[in-house]
Every structure is written in structure tokens, then in C-alpha cells.
Amino acid sequence: MDIKDIIKPENRVYGKTPLLTDNVMHYCPGCSHGTVHKLIAEVIDEMGIQEQTIGVSPVGCSVFAYNYLDIDWQQAAHGRAPALATATKRLHPEKYVFTYQGDGDLASIGTAEIMHACNRGENIVVIFINNAIYGMTGGQMAPTTLIGMKTATTPYGRDPKLHGNPLKITELIAQLDGTCFVTRQSVHNPGNVRKAKKAIRKAFENSMMDKGTSFVEIVGTCNSGWKLSPVQSNEWMVENMFPKYPLGDIKDI
């Protein structure tokens, strides 16, 4: 059979969802952000809620998420996405509201906002990308950086005596009564991408059921910051990140 006979519209089984714009993403090659953007776009598309969804983009590499997903967006100051999402959801309870935050945004400068939003049980979705580094500003140490991990500000590796310990913020958030669904996923291989998509869909569905905050952590890569190739960073993540940040549902009620 000739390739031309296979490449026909009726044989198309997978492709870019129309919810993603045609803009070329500014992310580095192999960045997890692109994959997670795609999953959110697919979930919104499949649920048919494009007109009812409002995203809050953070500060960091993913600040430009509003260029790539064709939905309504707001952009929050450093770490304040959950506060903005709280207001948006309370003013428009019929809308699906989600925040998209990295670890430098959510686990560092925005710790107060995320803790209190989750503790109040706001009916929002929080997508948290944990790549253990500040990507946009040049690969500095983040609260989630692993012990011994070399970054621009810890050139000899993170030393707990000097720099403190990695912050497992997802486990902390699971302790709060306001959250209904807390999970940790990754997007490094097809199986995990599908699991992550299911988790994101469940989180969006929860936000209309008045159950509380849904929190989805995605352990991702920052190959530029880690100074590895995209494929090597995925391997490094499996080897080093997953023992500290194990995948799976932490809370599901």
C-alpha cells in the first residue's frame, strides 16, 4: 500500500487539536510544557468547554500559555495565580477556572496563595509543573531542587545544610481539607501522557461538582536548565526525580 493511500483525511487518527493555536511554541525543544499544554487543550476540546474556560497564566516560561491555547486567559503576578483564580471562580461560578504554574511560581513566591486557596477549597483546577529548577531566569535553584543537584546558584550541588531540603508541596497540599483530588503525574512516555490527561480531565470535572480544589502536579523536564538533551532529561527524571516525587494519586475523594 502506498503512503499516499494512507494519508487521507478519513484515516486520520491523531493530530493537533484545533484548540491549540498555530503559533510555534517558544519553549526549548523537548520541553514538558508543550505536552501539558496539548493535554489541557485536548481535555477542554473533548469536554466542549472552550467558551466556559478561563485560564490563569503564571510568571515563568509558561507565561505565554495564552498565545497557545485558544481560550480566555488572565495573567497573574508572581505566584498569585490562585488568588486571581479564586476571584474569577467566585464571580463566574459557571466557568471552569484553572491556574497553570511552575515550581518557582507555586512552591516559592506563591506558597501562601496556593496554601490558602487550597485550604479554602476554591473550586478551581491547579496544574503544577515541577521541573526542580527556575527555567526562565537561567536555571537557578528552586525549592523543589533535589539534594546534590547542580544549578546556576548551587554549582556544587544542593546542600541541605546551606540551601534547605526539597519541598514536597503536593504532599503538603494533600493534607489540607479543602482539596478533593491531589495527584502527581508525568508526561515522559505515551502511557504517562494518557494517565496525566485522565487526571487533568477529572480535575476539570471536579471543579463543577463543588468538591474543592483539584491539584495536578506534573513532574516535568527542563533540559536547558539541566544541561541534558531532551531524551537524556527524560531518563534523568525517571532515575532521580521519581524516587523523590513518586507518581500516583495522593488524595482522591
Binding site: M1, I6, V13, Y14, M25, P29, G30, N189, N234
Partner: protein
Amino acid sequence: MALRGAIVVDNEKCKGCGVCLANCPTDTIALAKEVNSKGYNFAFMASPESCTGCTNCATVCPDSCITVYRVKI
């Protein structure tokens, strides 16, 4: 029943990260020797006869630049 597949890569959007190569179960995909306008060696279907249209490559593609087609023969 056998499955035949084919992929179409948006060469200009592809950044040649190679994540699709690593996740292709049939080693169908390779990076081209040529580069696109941004200087990236884009992915292409190097051995079209082995593609089964499993969609693994497109599922993990961070830039959503792969479209997958599949037929049963």
C-alpha cells in the same frame, strides 16, 4: 488483520527534540540531515513500511507537530 500507518510532520514546527524517536516502538522515525528554517533537524518517517500508526510519537510530541494516519489491511 495488519495495521499500516503513516505520519506527517510539520517540518517548520518540529524542533528535532527526538522524544518521538525514543518512544517509537518500530524505529520508524529518524531525524533528517536537512534542517528547517530555524536550524533544527526535523523528524521524518525514515522507514515508512514499519509504521503501525500507534500514535505514540504524536502523543509525546511537545510541539503537536505530528499527525497520524492509520488503515487496516
